[in-house]
């Protein structure tokens, strides 16, 4: 009974501080400016020159462990990568699931496809959903729309990501195009940019600690790459994680840097997704893809 009383007291306490105090002391990496276009990397890591044309990457660079990071790992994406891997099986399963969900066309229209046509849909997410009054990523939209039809495709689950890979494959080769210049999308981009520079976790690191200020340097055996152009190949087949959505990648980044991860679809991860998708504007969707 004592514990219950304590819980009730803390409940009242919560109500008291809800919405209060943005004046909590938090630390930030120096806040930089970014272009919401993949070509902005010319002023960032300047590796864009090596991976800007995904069809014509340099084979020799791809095979050289001292140089392959300059290709931003794009040599593991189609059309350059001809290997059949787990991402292809995910795409097949995603197609089956999608067709089952969309027998009456309601799933496609809920996702925002015009006349059931999925072409270009991936390239225009995340987007503002008026009925939800917030910005959502494609995987969260898949979760919500499947739920409306009575199916569970939890954000981050294999089946959710498989449907996402299938939908993305209908936009393969089309440049990512989201508008972060106004309204709620601009607000999300700005929050995402600030989060990218927000220090967190037991090591007190921000994303930008490495991906803005240490690009090209070694962390043990790996080399830090640019944040530009990085979301075009998600969800991605990972040898260790089967199929990984962008938000699950954020969770992995968090765990690697000793930071408590968040739920996929959380406001912070969605804002980060908007920011990084902005940095990928103009780069073609490339699925199914693999990474180590």
């Amino acid at each position: 009974m004592g514990i219950l009383k304590q819980a009730l007291i803390s409940c009242v306490f919560v109500a008291g501080v809800a919405g209060a105090s943005d004046d909590v002391y938090r630390e930030y990496d120096p806040l930089e400016t970014y272009e919401p276009n993949v070509a902005g990397d010319r002023k960032h890591s300047n590796t864009y020159q090596y991976w800007m044309d995904p069809k014509n990457l340099d084979w020799q660079m791809a095979g050289n462990p001292d140089e392959n990071w300059k290709l931003n790992w794009k040599f593991m994406d189609p059309p350059f990568n001809p290997v059949v891997h787990g991402g292809h099986f995910a795409e097949d399963r995603g197609e089956t699931l999608y067709k089952k969900l969309n027998t009456r066309g309601r799933f496609a229209s809920c996702l925002g496809a015009t006349k059931g046509n999925l072409k270009g849909l991936r390239a225009s997410y995340p987007r503002y959903r008026a009925e939800l009054k917030r910005v959502v990523g494609l995987e969260e939209a898949i979760e919500i729309c499947a739920k409306r039809l009575g199916h569970q495709l939890e954000n981050g689950s294999y089946d959710n990501s498989a449907v996402s890979v299938y939908i993305a494959s209908r936009s393969n080769g089309m440049p990512i195009r989201i508008d972060v210049s106004k309204g709620p999308m601009k607000e999300a981009w700005e929050r995402g940019r600030k989060l990218f520079h927000t220090r967190a976790g037991r090591f007190n690191l921000a994303c930008s600690s490495c991906h803005t200020h240490q690009v090209g340097l070694h962390l043990r055996g790996t080399v830090v790459t640019t944040p530009y152009g990085d979301v075009a190949h998600y969800p991605v087949y990972r040898t260790r994680y089967q199929l990984q959505s962008l938000h699950l990648r954020f969770a992995e980044c968090n765990l690697d840097t000793r930071t408590q991860p968040l739920r996929p679809g959380s406001g912070a991860y969605t804002d980060l997704e908007v920011f990084l998708t902005g940095l990928t504007n103009g780069y073609p969707v490339s699925v199914p893809s693999e990474r180590d």
Binding site: Y158, L217, H218
Partner: protein, 178 residues
């Protein structure tokens, strides 16, 4: 059991309000409050519409997250004092510098006798030549923010990653590098 059930309901209610206690992890953090190591990691199950969460080998719930609902502050920079003789063990220090769960200095710094070092931090081979005072080296590892607020070096002392004796061992190791 009834109390536990009521508590679980209360927890759900709290999660629904999307606000957080000033000293607790935010509602969108995924952790098991009853486990010895609370932090959970996502586990993707092939051909399933559900995402599983499994225990992670470190408890990370005590430090600020990226959540918008996290009301916990970053621990402020701390000026440390090194009292008495250094009394550090260089051999233990070297081990700590290589261990991923301890200093893991090698992730960012080059150290003698080890392949694949990091290059984010300065090369520490031959560190002795700088003739830095033990107090200064101790402070740099304890909390480097005192010297440079924009440093990427984790505050090993302030954030409780290393104990005082472990810090002394690391200082002894660095000061022994010829």
């Amino acid at each position: 059991m009834r109390t536990a059930g009521t508590l679980a309901m209360l927890a759900l209610l709290l999660a629904g309000t999307a606000s957080a206690r000033a000293d607790a992890p935010p509602p969108d953090a995924v952790f098991d409050p009853g486990a010895p190591l609370k932090t959970l990691a996502p586990k993707v199950v092939v051909n399933s519409g559900k995402l599983e969460w499994v225990p992670f080998h470190r408890d990370l719930t005590s430090w600020p997250t990226l959540s918008h609902h996290d009301k916990r502050p970053t621990p402020r920079p701390v000026r440390a004092t090194l009292n008495g003789p250094l009394d550090g063990d260089a051999a233990r220090g070297r081990e700590l510098a290589m261990r991923p769960d301890k200093g893991y200095c090698i992730a960012c710094h080059a150290l003698p006798g080890e392949e694949w070092p990091g290059t984010v931090g300065v090369n520490l081979a031959g560190y002795q030549q700088h003739r830095n005072a033990d107090e200064l080296v101790f402070q740099q590892i304890f909390d480097a923010r005192v010297f440079n607020p924009n440093t990427v070096m984790p505050p090993y002392g302030t954030f409780g990653i290393l104990t005082e004796q472990e810090l002394r061992d690391l200082v002894a190791y660095l000061q022994s590098l010829e």
